[in-house]
Symmetry: C2
């Protein structure tokens, strides 16, 4: 949805800020002070024809994805997921067995991640399949700003680290990706992270969101961007297109963290790191978006991606 | 959705019960132990043509209803609402102003009830309007069974008290009803409630759910059922139809609590009660559903209502 709309909603809720609220609309998830802990809450709605295609996408993977995108949001906050609720609008063409198939996809991933499915709402209708998951997790009591993984904490000269690789996720990964909860909890425990997000709209859009909210610029190193096998294969005769796919395709659901130079070095060399992380660029005091070519040429970085229109 | 489906989902989640879970699927909301408090979580999904009609229902009232039904769920748990997230699938025919109108309906009610709107997800698509709200609230740390307003706590000879009146809610009330949060918090503070629910599917269906889960029967007193003005007017030449409407129509969103005889008497006479409550019948050890006619004749009570098919 348009940023302007989210900004409007943010301003409406801030006009009357709730006393329990630590971090509200506009980040990957919200943080709420409930009793003595900080509760992290997020939600995502997926629909047939937009985020999956009934008849082409296995039903179990539709359920899996609906929870996985929420787990990815909590990973982007460094939060431990605890429980989730699932809502469905079921088209009349799908019977109870199909509904169970969808929920089984949710439940299997929930068990894998130790998440309790604690409720939901299921209705039938004449429209297409819609599934919504709302997830609740925990972070240790937040001592600002050291332990809140906000979007707006990046500083000039900070290094951008990303998990995994990027591009052409539509071939399969957008349904089968691993939400980086383990990686996030490992990093949160051991390192001071300035800002974090998960890559959903595209590498450039989501990193630019960190830069913009942190009021800094950003420089990406083209030669360092990890390009997925799937993108390399699809664009094997057109390397610039493969890079573009890594920078501008959506739904990679990798984790990006922004840390100072010294911390970045320690993280990438940490022998206990649950999965490889790559330094892809840095934040800059000059508020521009720059792409450095393999031969060292600096050009303008196009901020583009899949935007649900 | 069919009870069998919910039972299946419940059994799936109980096979692998989460340690933080106090009360899971199958009640009005879930209760989760987060740090030192108990967090109550619920969600409801509403869709065009099922729960409202775009073009006939004012957009603000659609947003209001989406939050109000969730507030009603928390009231049914005796919980204080804290925050909510809102997801939308917006049909392309609705512009940003219409989206804001819907959210304004959510926000106005949120402010009225001291609820923080802390996030959400908004997408456009070719389908009809869908809106989902997931809500989080608090109850004091639960000392089972005294303070959990579950469905399964009713005992034989307990009295059933309800707020407000019933029937033909479709004329307006299903959009403008008052979620009974204040009443619920008042009762929770002062009285020992055995079981509670909000009346969504119908008076008979939702009270029967308490009876079934509590393994008791139920006897309703026809003369005592408060019938709404709207139902009395619509069926002014057919009093039995007005009673049927009160017993079997859905979406009244009144609060029902089940308490012992002595407590019931104290509640209905409490001068500080935020709104009138009426004793409409009692739970019975004999597991039957009985309707007592104004003339004292005992007949079978039909358990019927609006079931989303």
């Amino acid at each position: 949805m348009e940023r302007a709309f989210i900004d409007w909603l943010k301003s409406q809720t801030e006009a009357n800020r709730h006393p329990n609220l630590i971090l509200g609309i506009g980040d990957d998830a919200a943080i709420v002070d409930l009793q003595d802990g900080s509760t992290v809450i997020s939600t995502d709605m997926l629909a047939d024809g937009v985020h999956f295609v009934v008849g082409q996408t296995p039903l179990k993977l539709i359920g899996r994805k609906a929870l996985a995108v929420n787990l990815s949001d909590l990973a982007a906050m460094g939060a431990r997921p605890v429980c989730a609720v699932v809502s469905l609008m079921l088209p009349k063409a799908l019977g109870i067995d199909e509904a169970k198939e969808i929920l089984t996809g949710v439940l299997q991933l929930a068990n894998e991640y130790g998440v309790a499915i604690v409720g939901g709402d299921t209705n039938r209708w004449d429209g297409p399949l819609v599934i919504n998951v709302a997830i609740t997790g925990l972070v240790d009591r937040v001592t600002p700003p050291s332990s809140t993984w906000r979007l707006d904490g990046a500083q000039a000269d900070d290094v951008i680290l990303v998990s995994g690789d990027f591009g052409h996720s539509i071939s399969e990964k957008h349904l089968t990706f691993t939400p980086h909860v383990a990686l996030a909890l490992f990093l949160r425990d051991k390192y001071y992270v300035h800002a974090a997000t998960d890559i959903t709209d595209s590498l450039t859009i989501d990193l630019a969101a960190i830069a913009k909210q942190s009021e800094v610029g950003m420089e990406l190193d083209a030669a360092a961007i990890p390009i997925s096998k799937s993108a390399l294969e699809k664009y094997k005769n057109d390397p610039p297109a493969a890079l573009r796919s890594a920078l501008q395709d959506g739904e990679d659901f990798e984790l990006a963290v922004v840390v100072d130079r010294e911390t970045a070095k320690r993280i990438v060399e940490d022998p206990e790191l649950p999965c490889k992380m790559t330094a892809v660029g840095k934040m800059t005091s000059k508020r521009k978006f720059v792409l450095v070519d393999p031969n060292g040429t600096r050009g303008s970085l196009e901020i583009k991606g899949y935007e649900h229109d």
